[in-house]
């Protein structure tokens, strides 16, 4: 997937809940329509971002990817600011 994005949040190495707390803060500062790319190493973030996007009013989860960066699994979440 080659998803376009406007900003990157590097949350690698952060434990739960910080990837989501920080993504939520960043998304709050963005303009509607803009996309935030979140990179996390916490595997639990995959289900958590899905659950969060379902209930949060002003974000939409465009997609998720799993990559291997320098031997570590990185979970990427594309979060779009809406409304």
């Amino acid at each position: 997937m080659s998803q376009a994005f406007d900003k990157v949040l590097d949350a690698r190495g952060m434990n739960c809940p910080m990837p989501l707390v920080n993504a939520r803060k960043e998304a709050g500062k963005m303009e509607p329509g803009q996309v935030l790319k979140v990179m996390a190493t916490d595997r639990g973030s995959v289900a958590d971002f899905q659950g969060w996007a379902k209930i949060a009013k002003n974000v939409e989860l465009l997609g998720q990817e799993e990559e291997s960066v320098e031997g570590a699994n990185v979970y990427v979440h594309y979060v779009k600011r809406i409304g």
Partner: protein, 408 residues
Amino acid sequence: MTISIEPVWTAEDLLSSLERRDKFFVLDVRNRDEFERFRLEGREPLPALNVPYFEMLELGGQDEMVDSVVACVEQHFEGQIPRDLPVLSVCAKGDTSEYVRQGLERLGYSGAHLKGGMKSWGQHYSTGVVIETPELAIYQVWRPARGCLSYVVASDGKALVIDPLRHLHPYLELAGEKGFKIECVIDTHGHADHISGGTALAAECGAPYYLHPYDAIHPMDALPATIPYNAIRDGQIFKVGRVELEAIHIPGHTLGLVALRLGDRYLFSGDSICIGSISRPDLGGKADAWAPLHGRSLRKLAALPGKIIVLPGHFSSLAEQNDSGLFAAPLDTLKQSNPGMQLLTQESEEGFVRYLLEHLPPFLSEYVDIKRVNAGLLAPSEDEASQLELGKNVCGLAAAGICKGETE
């Protein structure tokens, strides 16, 4: 009312608290499906509220986690979290729960959080002493969250391990501490609910690993196991120091299930007779064919001397613990108290089989893969292994309610 408790509970603290039957409330902030699949239980499920942490963030609407917890609980859950009980905050790995504890503390609740989260609880082991003499020692090594029991039988500095669970440290540490050498490892059957530590422990100790050959074929795949094993035969004697264990082939739960009998003293029953239930015959996907075998095998065990102490492979609830904290009871007692055993005595062979087949609990799809892992047909990563083993086993019929006295 002021309650004072330690703010951080380890899995061991939690187990002590559950065993003491302390009263406390659980605030679980994991996803709803994680909570549904695997939650904290004592003798029965604990009073609990599940609010995923990201819902707390949205409902509380604050930038920081602790502030959101405060706002969210104040505005939405004030009446739902009791003030007169300690509140244990729980999450997946034990990081978020500390923020939740801090939020609750700010609101004046008395609370703690579970260090390492449900992951750590799921992997916690405990060891009980069944008997400890120079001639014979038996240790019950168990995983409280999963309901899995395993055994170390030691005599004269030698030990045999029955149904070792996935993590080897409890057995290796026990052997080091008590000064015995593990010389034999036996799986009573090919497990469906948990990943066996059998072949790994045998390799680690340079000991032979034993399994009945019927369980060295995956029942659904009809493929042979790739693990190295020695075949157990009915009646085979395993010598450990001064004692002997005799294998009794009791097909039903699996085709290759064996119980191990130590004279008239102890019966390691595998997944057949448990304390509060009997095992299910359908985990190989062949319930119609296996249930009659299961009934006959249970009758064979029921005919053993009544004073023999049954040491099962599973439990369904901490309510099955006896006063010494062990999952163990004389066969005669179980014939009276275990609803599955009552059914066996009261019903005809056909009636018993019909009842079993009509009361099968839901089948978990993970169990097919776990059997593959145990046969060496699948090699999961550590993460995948934890995921496969999440939650409590449902090997017993108690999961369907049949063994809670509902023998209508």
